[in-house]
């Protein structure tokens, strides 16, 4: 039988999605369904003086209106789930609705329940709120200044956390032959899944069971947190995530809104549905990034890097989101050396409260930012000493023979061979010829730029003991149950929850190979806390590395048990049984055989099992990896900048990634493409914008520039395979590599194109206006 792992197979999950048979949150209809809407603060910072709901209560179809005061003591605070230790973390209480003070545009003020999708909006418009506006803190560096307005009165200088890792002395920097100092603003962006958030609650007063369908990347985390918030037993709270239209980090968070819908459904004894509008999504769903990074990179004039010192000032928004505190600290601060063997490194991070929407993990979460600063800084260093950007990278790479490699801050990279994807990428573009071509074009006045990013990122979360040590309020192991039915058909249950990644297909490929059965015989069950005992969800590119590990282990256990049954039936010892392609046979006696299907039946009937063996063929495995995984690679971008308009055209994009074992090249390439589009989006077009009053100015896709098809050339991809030793599949994460690699690659390319003008940096996103101005202000102009 042809192996499934490694095969370019089309996806199992597609037919329903292609024919309109998907079942997304807003598709759920229940008898007696009520609709909910949330009134949100139009002010960035204001005292709530009075909420008048009299008129609203007279509106047709209104069922209930709740304010923050009404819910006091009835719903608990919404907690953050990443309490980073040794950071003097100050978690300000976040209530499901603001009680006396709104702290960002989008902060919930009142919950309205009414009969009908439109009626509920009518009611919302009739609520009158008297606000007294307060001074605002918007930019994180300004928010830290003396006398800045306080977002939370008892949190000094708005500093939510102050964290440090590693030691670099002044002498390491000031005494170095060459030092590059730079400040980068990795701007705030919106994850922007095409499906906004939604929740539907249904309560059974008889059984006391609450079912909550909601958009979540981690249903079990939602259950764990919401059971506390709503004071309901985990055994009576069922979270179901229906088909979900993307997440990208924006649906990791346990938000006040899901708690409100669960509460209202229980309080009213009727099902309630809430679907976020896009404008609401821009203000009420967590944003990503928003980190101001000051970096000092020191080294020798021969290109050897000796020390890096980084300070990250991160805008955490008005409250701590579910994973927000970990992004600019753990995720960012331990990876600042990137793929390079820089002996000394330190990072100091300030997390700052502001009157803006909270920030949380967004595709890459901290790694795009850390990769951005090192990949940009190394280019500046190379320019300063007149070295080719490829050469300086090669010179400083952590060497293949040093893996597992321990970086300056103590992280152990599982496996790596950084030269391999670099060489392959260079081959693909013919680097030497390209540089010549660039020089020729320059003579003709054309601005061609070549940008490189040789990234490594940390993902595949991860060892639970480490999670505990870094303050993550959860385990990060994974669970899987393989259940073989009497017919030989199989259900597999696992706790990582797909929303577009294609888990059903890739995991089925793993199981098909293990059990020697066709893909069609395998059906996965995800996203339901009643069906799946436990799991920690999908984020940090952990599904294949950790979830896949659990699936693989459970399938192995099925084979072990099945082998024993086969041996028993064939009256030989287990050692004498060979298992391949779904057939158990006695070594050297091919006619003495049992098929997987036959054993499935025997096990389930249990008419004749070995003594002491329990009936059935079902195995569960819990997998807690020994380390994170560290995918790496080289991305090269070629751009042309129009010097008269400042417009940027991406001429070529080459991505060579090493993500360990590639289970399905087709879906892997899809992940790479999507990740790149999001990273290029950050570099060139996207940006959440607030004005000085804290008003959100980018509240729709008219105002927030999403990447479009015509902005891209055909992306050229390739993989190298350096297996990971820390999971059974040898796989690493692939979801975030494209985003992580592409942001600096594009930026480096544009800066390279503008070299004749002496341009060293432009703040993202690179709008034509900014580029044009940089050219106008450049040397020789």
């Amino acid at each position: 039988m042809v192996k499934h792992v490694g095969a370019r197979l089309k996806r199992k999950e597609d037919p329903k999605l292609l024919t309109g048979n998907g079942n997304f949150a807003d598709d759920i209809q229940l008898p007696g369904l009520l609709h909910a809407a949330i009134l949100r603060s139009p002010h960035a910072h204001a005292l709530i003086r009075k909420i008048n709901i009299e008129k609203a209560l007279q509106a047709p179809g209104v069922v209930a209106i709740y304010t923050g005061k009404d819910l006091e003591g009835k719903i608990g605070r919404i907690p953050s789930s990443w309490l980073v230790p040794d950071a003097n973390l100050k978690e300000a209480p976040q209530y499901p609705l603001a009680i006396d003070r709104a702290r960002y545009v989008g902060d919930g003020i009142a919950l309205v329940i009414a009969e009908g999708r439109y009626a509920v909006r009518d009611v919302l418009d009739l609520i009158e709120v008297e606000y007294e506006t307060l001074p605002v803190a918007v930019n994180q560096k300004e928010a830290m200044a003396e006398h800045a307005p306080l977002v939370h009165d008892d949190i000094e200088n708005n500093i939510a956390l102050h964290w440090k890792a590693g030691e670099v002395d002044d002498a390491d920097i000031d005494g170095a032959e060459v030092v590059v100092r730079a400040s980068f603003n990795v701007q705030r962006v919106a994850p922007s899944a095409m499906e906004t958030r939604a929740a539907i609650g249904q309560y059974n007063p008889g059984s006391g069971e609450l079912t909550l369908w909601c958009t979540s990347q981690n249903p079990h985390i939602h259950r764990m947190v919401l059971s506390e918030v709503l004071n309901i037993s985990e055994s009576k709270l069922q979270i179901i995530v229906p088909d979900m239209g993307g997440g990208f980090g924006g649906k990791i968070g346990v938000y006040p809104d899901e708690a409100l819908i669960g509460y209202a459904a229980r309080d009213l004894g009727r099902p309630v549905k809430w679907v976020e509008e896009r404008n609401e999504h821009f203000s009420a769903s967590n944003h990503g990034r928003d980190e101001i990074i000051d970096v000092e990179l020191a080294g020798k004039s021969d290109g050897t890097l000796t020390a890096i010192r980084v300070r990250n000032t991160a805008n955490l928004g008005a409250y701590l989101s579910t994973m927000g505190p970990g992004v600019a600290t753990i995720d960012f601060g331990l990876m600042i050396t990137g793929a390079y063997a820089i002996p000394k490194a330190s990072c100091e991070t300030f997390g700052v409260y502001t009157n803006t929407t909270p920030t949380d993990a967004y595709r890459g979460a901290g790694k795009p930012e850390s990769t951005y600063q090192i990949e940009r800084a190394i280019d500046l260093f190379a320019k300063k000493i007149g070295m080719d950007p490829i050469e300086i990278r090669r010179k400083n790479f952590a060497k293949k023979e040093d893996f597992p490699y321990t970086n300056a801050q103590g992280l152990v990279y599982d496996s790596g061979d950084y030269e391999k994807p670099l060489n392959k990428a260079l081959e693909m573009i013919d680097y030497k010829k390209l540089r010549e071509e660039q020089a020729n074009q320059r003579k003709k006045g054309k601005l061609i730029g070549i940008g490189i990013s040789t990234y490594v990122e940390l993902c595949g979360f991860g060892p639970s003991a480490v999670a505990g040590a870094i303050g993550f309020q959860g385990g990060v192991w994974e669970n899987s149950t393989v259940r073989v039915h009497p017919s030989g058909k199989v259900n597999v249950y696992t706790g990582t929850s797909p929303h577009g990644q294609g888990h059903d297909t890739t995991f089925s490929q793993v199981v098909a190979d293990k059990l020697g059965i066709p893909m069609e015989d395998i059906d996965f069950v995800f996203n339901d806390t009643k069906a799946i005992s436990m799991g920690w969800g999908t984020y940090g590119s952990r599904s294949v590395a950790v979830g896949g590990g659990a699936v693989s282990m459970a399938a192995d256990r099925i084979v072990d048990k099945a082998k024993k049954i086969a041996a028993h039936e064939l009256e030989v010892s287990v050692d004498e049984i060979d298992f391949s392609n779904g057939v158990f046979q006695v070594k050297g006696a091919p006619s003495k055989r049992r098929t997987f299907k036959e054993i499935a039946k025997s096990a389930n009937m249990a008419w004749n099992l070995p003594a002491d063996m329990e009936p059935s063929l079902e195995k569960q495995a819990f997998f807690d990896p020994s380390n994170f995984v560290y995918p790496f690679g080289t991305h090269i971008v070629i751009v042309e900048v129009d010097k008269d308009t400042g417009e940027i055209e991406i001429k070529r994009y080459i991505a060579v990634d090493d993500v360990g074992r590639v289970i399905n090249p087709l879906t892997a390439e899809g992940q790479v493409h999507g990740g790149i589009a999001q990273g290029v989006g950050q570099a060139l077009w996207e940006g959440i914008v607030y004005n000085d009053a804290g008003q959100l100015l980018s509240g729709s896709f008219m105002d927030y520039a999403m990447p479009k098809a015509r902005f891209f050339p055909r992306i050229e991809t390739a993989f190298t395979e350096t297996l990971s030793p820390v999971n059974p599949l040898g796989a690493k994460g692939i979801g975030e590599t494209g985003t992580t690699a592409s942001i600096p690659a594009v930026m480096n390319a544009v800066i390279d194109a503008l070299e004749p003008y002496g341009v060293k940096d432009i703040e993202m996103p690179l709008t034509p206006e900014k580029v044009w101005r940089a050219i106008q202000n450049g040397e020789g102009n």
């Binding site: 292609l18 024919t19 598709d27 098809a709 891209f712």
Partner: protein
């Protein structure tokens, strides 16, 4: 609301449908909530993302920025009218073969928009497809496999046409 419901008559996926709706009912809500055709999605409310695209009398329109009453008397095709699981439309086949979708949320609208494109231009180049995708947003795929999917569909449709011509001749 003091405003009387109005009657809307449309042919959706070949079936005649008639209903009394609130005058402000958006076409997409009529299709989804009124007719249970939940394959058409809402992504942005402001007609940028195209997840709600349906065919209305041979033109691809965004059903989230059109009132149901404006569609009165028209013929509408939604994703449910393209093809069935057993008999997929070439565009559906193309998206499946070429991995033109990930989360699948924008996909129904994108496919309908691309059916409209292929009607006008049965053999589009990569660039023409990318320009044709201007009215839709996909956050997952980076568009490359959507381009492949449309090309695949164009090829399938050309083959089918040849077959039809052969049968007819």
């Amino acid at each position: 609301m003091g405003i009387q419901d109005v009657s809307v008559g449309v042919i959706v996926n070949g079936k005649e449908r008639c209903a009394e709706v609130e005058p402000r009912t958006l076409l997409v809500h009529y299709l989804r909530d009124g007719l249970g055709l939940k394959g058409t999605h809402i992504g942005c409310d402001t007609s940028q993302c195209g997840a709600c695209t349906v065919m209305l009398d041979e033109a691809a329109v965004k059903s989230c920025t059109m009132l149901a009453v404006q569609a009165d008397g028209t013929e509408i095709t939604t994703v449910e009218g393209l093809g069935t699981i057993k008999n997929l439309h070439p565009i559906q086949q193309g998206f499946w073969e070429e991995h033109g979708l990930q989360c699948g949320y924008c996909t129904p609208g994108v496919m309908v928009a691309m059916v409209a494109l292929l009607k006008e231009n049965p053999n589009p180049t990569d660039e023409e497809i990318r320009i044709g995708l201007e009215g839709v947003i996909c956050r997952c795929t980076g568009y490359q496999f959507i381009v492949n999917a449309v090309k695949h569909a164009a090829k399938l449709m050309a083959e089918q046409n040849i077959e039809i011509e052969e049968v007819l001749s």
